[in-house]
């Protein structure tokens, strides 16, 4: 068939070129499809996902996802997630490792994200948040877009001033008026931070406790529960808001947006900085293996450019109180007085100051979705519930 080596090389080159061309045409044809995203509602800062897509320059097909880590695990490890979604969000701090280890997501080429340079330095190698966006090989697999240091919301008028210690949550003067989250992860970590930093219990790592440390923390909570300290353990955003807004509870460990919305409803709710520390966390975008195979990499990077722009950062901070993951937010807000009036500017500046103060507390501990003694966490949490 190939009479000479030259002919062979020519034909091979032709085949290679046509294959490459057809592949790139196929990729482009795929890329013309909308980017199929599976994410939580708070990833949207405009009225519609169409507007988010227009801002990014990428058509989007949105599917709603809960914040619960098990959902992505089920969908991608035993379900049809790869077929359905090109890009997804989930918590950093364990989930990115799980997804990457199981081949559900692919490494990200940060050189293709123009705004990567804006990313906060805490994600640089060696810094506190570095592991939350990298897999175990050290490859970047997540793009953080929101984060926070979860703290305590309190009703300033009713409690008679500002609060800067978790002591208040366990103080008998607020007996029956305190609440925590009905989730073993954040509640045990927050309590562990308090017990460790106040010298009440020896704990090495509040985010990855040993069996005996988990037992100590849960026994403390059981004691508090039996004394009637807690009105309830809240579950779900609306539930958390209602408890504070209705003044059913006066102090509550919660997400900052809960405090923001409860305050908008009229109660004098503030979100403090706790001297002992906070559980810090982030939520990251990930590119799925299926998304890459369908040629959606370029669209993904365009979308990430939007998520790392101060345009998004200013809005997520202003609307819901999440921490922007990029520098330049204040400058952006100052340069856009039509969008952010004096009141909004003041709110944004105050929130940024509060966040920096919370992030700087020494006792902070990053969220860990899969602690080594997960079974002990579960078993002891059921004892807290039964108490």
């Amino acid at each position: 068939m190939f009479k000479t080596r030259r002919n062979f090389l020519k034909k091979s080159a032709l085949v290679a070129a046509s294959t490459a061309l057809s592949q790139s045409l196929i990729m482009e044809a795929f890329a013309a499809d909308p980017l199929k995203i599976w994410t939580i509602g708070v990833a949207k800062v405009t009225k519609t996902w169409d507007e988010m897509g227009k801002q990014a320059g990428v058509p989007l097909t949105y599917s709603a996802k809960s914040g619960s880590a098990d959902q992505a695990i089920q969908k991608f490890f035993v379900g049809d997630g790869q077929k359905l979604y090109d890009a997804i969000t989930d918590n950093g701090g364990g989930q990115e490792d799980a997804m990457s280890d199981n081949g559900a997501i692919v490494p990200i080429d940060t050189s293709k994200i123009k705004n990567w340079k804006n990313l906060l330095p805490r994600y640089n190698e060696g810094n506190a948040g570095a592991n939350t966006i990298r897999n175990k090989k050290g490859e970047i697999v997540g793009v953080p877009y929101i984060s926070n240091a979860d703290s305590m919301a309190y009703n300033k008028t009713k409690v008679g001033g500002d609060i800067n210690t978790w002591d208040a949550l366990f103080d008998s003067q607020f007996k029956g008026y305190a609440a925590m989250q009905n989730d073993s992860g954040p509640t045990l970590t927050t309590t562990a931070i308090y017990l460790k930093e106040s010298g009440k219990q020896d704990i090495v790592n509040p985010s990855d406790m040993s069996k005996s440390e988990v037992k100590g923390v849960c026994e403390f909570l059981i004691g508090m529960k039996k004394k009637g300290q807690f009105r309830t353990f809240w579950d779900g955003f609306g539930n958390g808001v209602d408890l504070l807004a209705s003044e059913e509870v006066l102090v509550s460990s919660c997400w900052e947006p809960i405090a923001v919305i409860a305050a908008k409803k009229g109660a004098d709710i503030h979100y403090g900085t706790m001297k002992e520390g906070h559980q810090t966390w982030n939520n990251v975008w990930m590119l799925t293996k299926g998304g890459k195979q369908r040629g959606q990499e370029a669209n993904f990077y365009k979308l990430m450019d939007m998520y790392l722009s101060p345009w998004f950062g200013a809005r997520t901070l202003s609307n819901l109180g999440f921490t922007p993951q990029m520098t330049g937010v204040n400058e952006y807000v100052n340069a856009n007085p039509d969008t952010f009036d004096a009141k909004a500017k003041k709110t944004i500046a105050a929130r940024l100051v509060g966040k920096e103060a919370r992030m700087a507390v020494k006792g902070n501990s990053w969220q860990n979705l899969y602690p080594k003694e997960m079974r002990a966490y579960q078993d002891w949490w059921s004892k807290v519930q039964a108490a």
Binding site: I73, A98, R231, T232, F233, S246, D379, S382, A386, A387
Partner: protein
Amino acid sequence: MVVFFVIPLLLTVVWSVFERTMFWMEPGFTLFSYENFFFSARLENFVVSMLHSSVSVFFSFLIGFPIAVFIRRRVAKIAQHRVMLLFILPFMVSEIIRIFALRPILSRNGLINNFLMDFNFIDSPISAFVFTPTGVVIGEIVSFLPFMIFSTFLALEAIPNYVFEVCADLGVNRRRMFKDILLPLAAPGLFAGGVFIFVNGIGIALIPTILGGPGSVNAGLIATQAIIALDFPLAMAVSAIMMFTLMGLLFIGHKLFNLTKLLEPIS
């Protein structure tokens, strides 16, 4: 029956004895999930949620039975089914909204406490209406009472009118009418309604989540929490235990009350 009941039940039992892996499960045989359930606080939580549901069934009977009797005996035959339809109306509102709507009524600053305080019945708000076991029971009654009314009415509807006429002719008093006529003949309906309420009470996670106290759970929530913690065999074991509990109840009920009577044509 095989596709929608037997196969899912068998799969649930089979998966419950699989080995747990970090993110899923793998074939094997271990009773660890059952051990994990029966020798932990989960059993206590399960029993407490059954207790709450039993209380809800009892109060639903106290409220629902007279309503069903009233409709059967005092409402004109032509209007009875229309009146029953009224009890379906609440189901047209999302369950989460129905349950959440109880909070502004039952909470410390809620309607009931405000009313009681405004009229000087109490000095300080009563905390026990919500975020307590009482709150869970109230939520279950409000949510599931129609089940008791429907099934009891269905059983009463099967009683021919002449039974009541004969009783009246013989001068049977109300107490004997209740004890010897209505209660035995309505028993299959009452039992069916009771099972509906009981099963929903232990299975639907919304009510303890919204109206329960700190860490309030039922069997449904125990399974949900196991799934969240990626302990799928445990979630399957909890589901299997729930199903066997239900099947046991139905078996006892059928032996005692012959539940097929409910489905017999009205003579």
